[in-house]
């Protein structure tokens, strides 16, 4: 069963200027897709379209419930007076009526989510004082509390420390095993080879399919253009030295 399905999805931020076009793909339960593309290629725009936030949107989007979104950690306010547990609890906001206090059940769920990402002992620590990798794991814990069937993750391994990367990859594998669908924006071509599907995006959909079929030199060249660097042995890498958000 498809948990995410788009057909001829297009749109952008101002009328008549599409940031993405021709995006058609489907993701089944338990599948993880890597979204590859250069800076400004439309990865974040695609997420905003799936979240229903794109001002101009055409085509169709079908989603199994509201997706959980894990942004890059630098999008969250470091000066905000919240603990790691407070942030994880935000995952329960959508399903909790405004007149009801967050109770023991939600608190236990949030604590369990922090435990799952290896941060149970940091629950009371202020979010802004955690390391980048720990903050990323807290944002993933928040998505776990949301309990969404579809998760959108924007470069979850970008700039995180090695222990955090190991833990995040392990949690993503567990989520896949639970039958959720995951879309992961990444610059890491080698990481994308480990996913079930890859979507190559450069303002339009270049290719979508299994990594072995999609991650070919011509497709990567068309996706990345001058940002593509071919390493010894024919492996591809992407120059992300001028990464802006």
């Amino acid at each position: 069963m498809s948990l995410v399905r788009t057909h001829d999805l297009a749109g952008g931020y101002t009328p008549g200027r599409d940031a993405i076009e021709g995006v058609s793909f489907a993701l089944e339960a338990g599948e993880m897709a890597g979204i590859l593309g250069p800076n400004g290629g439309g990865k974040t725009t695609l997420f905003r379209a799936l979240l229903g936030e794109l001002p101009q949107r055409r085509g169709t989007v079908e989603l199994a419930g509201s997706p959980a979104y894990v942004p890059q950690t630098d999008h969250a306010r470091l000066d905000f007076p919240v603990s790691a547990l407070d942030v994880a609890l935000m995952g329960a906001y959508r399903r909790t009526p405004f007149y009801r206090r967050l109770g023991r059940g939600e608190r236990a769920t949030a604590e369990a989510a922090l435990e799952r990402v290896g941060l149970a002992d940091r629950a009371r620590v202020r979010f802004g004082t955690l390391s980048g990798g720990q903050r990323q794991r807290v944002l993933i814990a928040r998505a776990l509390v949301q309990d969404a069937r579809v998760l959108l993750l924007d470069e979850p391994l970008s700039g995180v420390d090695a222990p955090s990367a190991v833990r995040i990859e392990s949690v993503l594998a567990e989520l896949r095993g639970e039958g959720r669908a995951l879309l992961v924006a990444t610059h890491d071509v080698e990481q994308a080879r480990r996913f079930e599907r890859v979507l190559c995006l450069h303002r339009r959909q270049i290719a979508f399919g299994a990594p072995a079929e999609v991650l070919t030199a011509p497709v990567l060249q068309e996706t990345y253009g001058d940002e593509l660097v071919v390493l010894e042995g024919g492996r591809a890498a992407v120059n992300v030295g001028h990464h802006h958000h």
Partner: protein
Amino acid sequence: MLAWLTDPFQNGFTQRALLEVLVLALACGPLGVWILLYRQSYAAESISHGMLPGLVLAALAGVPLVVGAGGGVLFAAAAIALAGRDERLGGDSGVAVAVSALFGLGALLALSPEAPPRLQELLFGDLLGTSLGDIAAAAVLAVVVAGALAFAHRRLAASAFDRSAARSLGAEPARWELVLLVLLAVATTAAAPALGSLLLVALIVAPGAAALRLAGRLPAALAAAAGIAALAGVAGLVLSYHLGIAAGASVALCAAALAGAAQLRHA
């Protein structure tokens, strides 16, 4: 020492002033925390300064200042919104031009021969002249602000903390930003008769700044801001009595001093 603290409140007019600042502290303190978290301090100052024409017109017409403050805030908010969107001027420049123009218009009206000699009261408020009616009006508006902040707490938090993920958490950032500005307008209306167009912003922004320095978590910051605003009100009235200085200015200076002390304590 106790007498030094209680002596100022032996009179009916200082008791009413005390009640007024305590009522305002309930709304202005927590609101200030949100204003700072949403980085809307400039909007707070702009709206309070831009409402001067409304206050002057109310004084000319002989209607309660709170009515003029309400009308002035609405007009100022509309003018600021329009000017801020004018791409020829640019966001902040447009707001600055609109606020200066409104303030100039207010001064022009206030200094006309027909105007009663109340410009000082309109600019700096008349805290010691607070009536029971003023307190009742401020109480209603303060309860509206405090209640709405409690109602919107989780949505406001999600939008301010992580705007990019707010919608997936059930919050619409643009909507809650607008709600916050409406509440700012209501609080400004409530505080205008007591603290005037120029001083009221101190009771909103300064306690919030102090509380965010001292408190590690949001609920504590909101409670601390209300407490600090109340402390500034009480301290301001006590110092005003003993030093013979203007009450509204004294309250504003105490709020600013507490904000400054909080920055030093945490440095």
